[in-house]
C-alpha cells in the first residue's frame, strides 16, 4: 500500500480514523428525509450539492497520490479500480428533483456507471484502464482484488483503488423498505442487534508491486483474497458460503486459519447477516477464534465503499499496534458463537482477515499481512 486517502464521518485522513476508533467512537447524526422524518446516518459533513460529490472524491484521490509521492508519468500509467454501490445516484436525485420542479435539465444524464472513473482519469491525467465494480456492499473489495490481480499479472504498474459512497435517499429508503435500518443503534453480533445505520465516505489506495518511499502503509501487504457467490441467498448468504470464501482466501494467501492474528468482520448488525458471518467463522474455527472486530458502529455501513474504508482504517490501527473494539457490543448471541472485542487489544506483526459481503450473494475475504 503505497499511498492512501480517506474521509468518513470520523474525519479526513488516517490519523482521524485511528484516533476515533481507538476511542470506540459511535456518534451517528440524523438526516431529514422528506415525509419519512429523519434517519440516523454517519455523515461526512462536508456540505451538500453536486460540487460536494466530486470535490470529496477529488480531495481523497489527491491525498492518496500525494502520499504515494508519484511523478506525473507514474500517475498517468495507473489503472483505476472503483467500487461503489450507488455510483452517482446522489447527483441523479438532485437532477430528478430539479426536473420535477420544472427546471430545465442541468446536464444530460448518461446513466453511465463508469462516469466517476472517467472524472478521476480526466482530473488527474490517468490513462490506464478503468474498472468500476458494482457488486453491492462487496464492490470495493472486488476492486482491490482485481487491482492486485492486474498488478501480479504485470498488466499495470500501479493501481488506484477507490471506494466511494455518497448519501442518497433511494438507498436509505431502500434499506427502510427491507426493514434493515436499526431503530436503536448498531450492535454487531450483539443478541439485541436490530439493523444497520448507513454512512458515507470515500477512500483511495495506491497499490504497487514495489516498495516505495514509505508513504501509505509501509507495513501492509495484500497477501490473497477470494470472491465467490452464494446462489441461494440474494440478501444474506449461508454460513457455509461465508466460511468457504474465508477458507479460499486463506488458501490463496497460503496460510492456515490458526495463523490469523485478528479478523475485521463485515459485522453488518442485522440479525441474519451477523448470524451467517458468525456461524461461518465458527465453521472455520471450531476452537479458539482470533480477536474479531467490526467498524460499522463507528463509520456506519458505507455499502460499496465499506471494504476500502474499513481496510484502510483497520490497517492504520494495526500500524499503531492495536485492534479497536466494537462499539455497542455487550450481550453475546448464543446462536452465533462469536464475540467481538469489547476493549482495544494490542497486536504486533501478523496476518489479518477482512470480510465483506454484499447483496446478490457476493462474498469476499481479503488477507493482509505486516510482512512482505
Amino acid at each position: 500500500v503505497q499511498g492512501l486517502g480517506i474521509v468518513t464521518c470520523l474525519g479526513r485522513g488516517l490519523k482521524a480514523q485511528v484516533a476515533a476508533l481507538r476511542e470506540a467512537k459511535s456518534e451517528p447524526g440524523t438526516v431529514p428525509c422528506g415525509d419519512s422524518g429523519s434517519f440516523q446516518f454517519h455523515s461526512v459533513g462536508d456540505g451538500g450539492g453536486a460540487e460536494c460529490f466530486h470535490r470529496r472524491i477529488e480531495q481523497v484521490v489527491e491525498d492518496a497520490l500525494a502520499d504515494a509521492d508519484l511523478s506525473r508519468s507514474e500517475i498517468a500509467g495507473m489503472g483505476i479500480f472503483i467500487g461503489t454501490s450507488s455510483v452517482d445516484l446522489y447527483l441523479r436525485e438532485l437532477e430528478f428533483i430539479r426536473r420535477m420542479n420544472g427546471a430545465a435539465a442541468a446536464r444530460e444524464m448518461q446513466w453511465e456507471i463508469g462516469e466517476v472513473a472517467s472524472f478521476i482519469a480526466a482530473k488527474f491525467g490517468i490513462r490506464g484502464p478503468q474498472f468500476t465494480f458494482t457488486t453491492a456492499c462487496s464492490s470495493s473489495a472486488n476492486a482491490m482484488i482485481y487491482a492486485a490481480r492486474m498488478l501480479r499479472a504485470s498488466r499495470i504498474p500501479r493501481a488506484l483503488v477507490i471506494g466511494t459512497e455518497h448519501f442518497n435517499r433511494v438507498s436509505l429508503h431502500g434499506f427502510e423498505s427491507m426493514m434493515l435500518l436499526s431503530k436503536t443503534s448498531m450492535r454487531p453480533f450483539d443478541e439485541r442487534r436490530d439493523g444497520v445505520v448507513l454512512g458515507e465516505g470515500t477512500g483511495a489506495l495506491v497499490l504497487g508491486a514495489q516498495d516505495t518511499s514509505g508513504g501509505g502503509l509501509p507495513n501492509a501487504f495484500f497477501r490473497g483474497a477470494a470472491t465467490m457467490t452464494d446462489p441461494t441467498g440474494i440478501t444474506c448468504s449461508s454460513a457455509e458460503c461465508t466460511a468457504q470464501v474465508m477458507a479460499e482466501a486463506l488458501r490463496e494467501a497460503d496460510i492456515s486459519a490458526d495463523r490469523i492474528t485478528a479478523i475485521k468482520a463485515h459485522g453488518v448488525g442485522t440479525p441474519a447477516g451477523d448470524r451467517s458471518e458468525g456461524q461461518g467463522l465458527r465453521l472455520l474455527y471450531s476452537g479458539a477464534m482470533p480477536p474479531v472486530t467490526s467498524f460499522k458502529p463507528s463509520i456506519g455501513h458505507t455499502l460499496g465503499a465499506c471494504a476500502v474504508l474499513e481496510t484502510v482504517a483497520f490497517l492504520g490501527c494495526v500500524q499503531e499496534r492495536f485492534i479497536p473494539p466494537t462499539p455497542g457490543f455487550e450481550q453475546a448471541d448464543p446462536a452465533i458463537g462469536c464475540e467481538p472485542l469489547r476493549r482495544a487489544k494490542e497486536v504486533a506483526a501478523g496476518y489479518f482477515l477482512l470480510n465483506h459481503f454484499g447483496f446478490g450473494g457476493s462474498n469476499t475475504a481479503l488477507v493482509f499481512s505486516t510482512q512482505p
Partner: protein
C-alpha cells in the same frame, strides 16, 4: 495471462423495438427451465442471452465458472422507477425493485439458475464495458483462477423522460435497443468456435497501429472491424495500415449505438463461422483504444444460426 483462450459458445440476443419494450417472459421461459419470479427487464435480458449461450455449449458448466457481466449503464429502468417512487409518488420503494436495481443482482440470478458458486462480477468501463469484462475473464481463465468464464455484455434502452411519465414515451423511439451478448470461455473445449488471441489497450493511435500487421494473416483471411468511438481520422489512419491481406468487417450500420456494441460485432463474427482472423478496435473518442483479436479456425464445425 495465458493466451489464446477458447470460445466454446456464443449467443447474441438483440431486440430493436418501437413503442413499449417487449415482454421477455416467453423468450426467457424458452431457454431457462426454472425462471425465478419477479424479474425485471434488465435481469430477463441477462438471463436470456446467458442461457442461450450455455444451452449451446456442448459440455456442462463447472460449479466454479466465473461470471463477468459488462454493462455500461446497468439496470437503468429500475433505477428510474426508484427515483419516481421516492420523489414523485413519495412512497417507500418496493424492496424488490430496490434489490433488482443493483447490476450484480442480474448476474446473481444467472448464478442461481445455473447453480454457480464462483466469481460473479458486474463491471463497467463506459465505452469499453464489454472489453473490460472480457479482459478480467481472460485474466482469470488464463491464470486458471477459474476453470471457465461466462462473459456478458448487456445494456437496455430505457425511458429517458425521467419525471413526467404522462408525456409521450421516447422509450421505443427509433433507435431503441436491448442487447445481451454472452461468450463462454472454456480452455478445455475440444471444438471451439473461436480462440481469443489477445486483448490490449492503447493510449493514442500510435500504440494501436502496430496491432495491425500490414502483411495480413498468413493462414487465415484477416478482417478489421473499427467499432464505435473510432473517429473518422483515426479510421483512415488505421485503414492505411491494411494491405490486401485484410478485409473490412462492418456490423453496426443498421442498429442503434450502444456502449457494448463491440460484443455484438464480435459475437456475430464468431457465429457466422467463417474461418478468419478478426481484429476489433474500439475507441472512446478521446484517444484510448481497446483491441480484441480472435480467430475462427477452419475446423470449426459448430457454426450456429445468428
Amino acid at each position: 495471462m495465458t493466451m489464446p483462450l477458447k470460445v466454446a459458445s456464443v449467443a447474441v440476443f438483440l431486440q430493436h423495438f418501437h413503442g413499449q419494450p417487449p415482454d421477455y417472459a416467453a423468450a426467457l421461459s424458452a431457454v431457462c427451465k426454472n425462471v425465478p419470479r419477479r424479474l425485471t427487464r434488465f435481469i430477463q435480458l441477462n438471463l436470456i442471452g446467458a442461457h442461450q449461450c450455455v444451452n449451446r455449449a456442448r459440455g456442462p458448466l463447472t460449479r466454479d465458472c466465473g461470471v463477468y457481466l459488462g454493462s455500461a449503464k446497468g439496470n437503468t429502468e429500475d433505477a428510474i422507477n426508484l427515483l419516481r417512487q421516492v420523489f414523485q409518488v413519495r412512497e417507500i420503494p418496493n424492496p424488490v425493485t430496490f434489490i433488482n436495481s443493483s447490476t450484480n443482482v442480474a448476474s446473481y440470478y444467472l448464478a442461481q439458475t445455473l447453480k454457480l458458486h464462483g466469481r460473479n462480477l458486474a463491471i463497467a468501463s463506459s465505452d469499453f464495458s464489454f472489453e473490460a469484462a472480457l479482459e478480467l475473464a481472460c485474466l482469470d481463465v488464463g491464470d486458471a483462477a477459474v476453470p471457465m468464464g461466462l462473459v456478458g455484455a448487456v445494456d437496455q434502452s430505457s425511458d429517458q423522460r425521467w419525471v413526467d411519465s404522462s408525456a409521450p414515451a421516447d422509450r421505443g423511439a427509433p433507435g431503441a435497443l436491448d442487447l445481451s451478448v454472452w461468450l463462454l470461455i472454456d480452455p478445455a473445449c475440444p471444438n471451439p468456435l473461436a480462440e481469443i488471441q489477445w486483448i490490449r489497450r492503447a493510449n493514442g493511435l500510435e500504440e494501436a497501429q502496430p496491432w495491425i500487421d500490414p502483411a495480413g494473416e498468413r493462414n487465415l483471411p484477416g478482417y478489421l472491424a473499427l467499432g464505435r468511438g473510432v473517429l473518422p481520422g483515426e479510421k483512415r489512419l488505421l485503414g492505411e495500415r491494411c494491405s490486401s491481406g485484410w478485409s473490412t468487417y462492418s456490423y453496426a450500420e443498421d442498429i442503434p449505438d450502444v456502449e457494448v456494441l463491440a460484443a455484438y460485432g464480435i459475437g456475430r463474427f464468431i457465429l457466422a463461422g467463417n474461418p478468419g482472423r478478426l481484429l476489433h478496435i474500439a475507441g472512446n473518442g478521446r484517444g484510448s483504444f481497446y483491441g480484441v483479436c480472435l480467430t475462427v479456425p477452419r475446423s470449426a464445425d459448430d457454426a450456429l444460426p445468428a
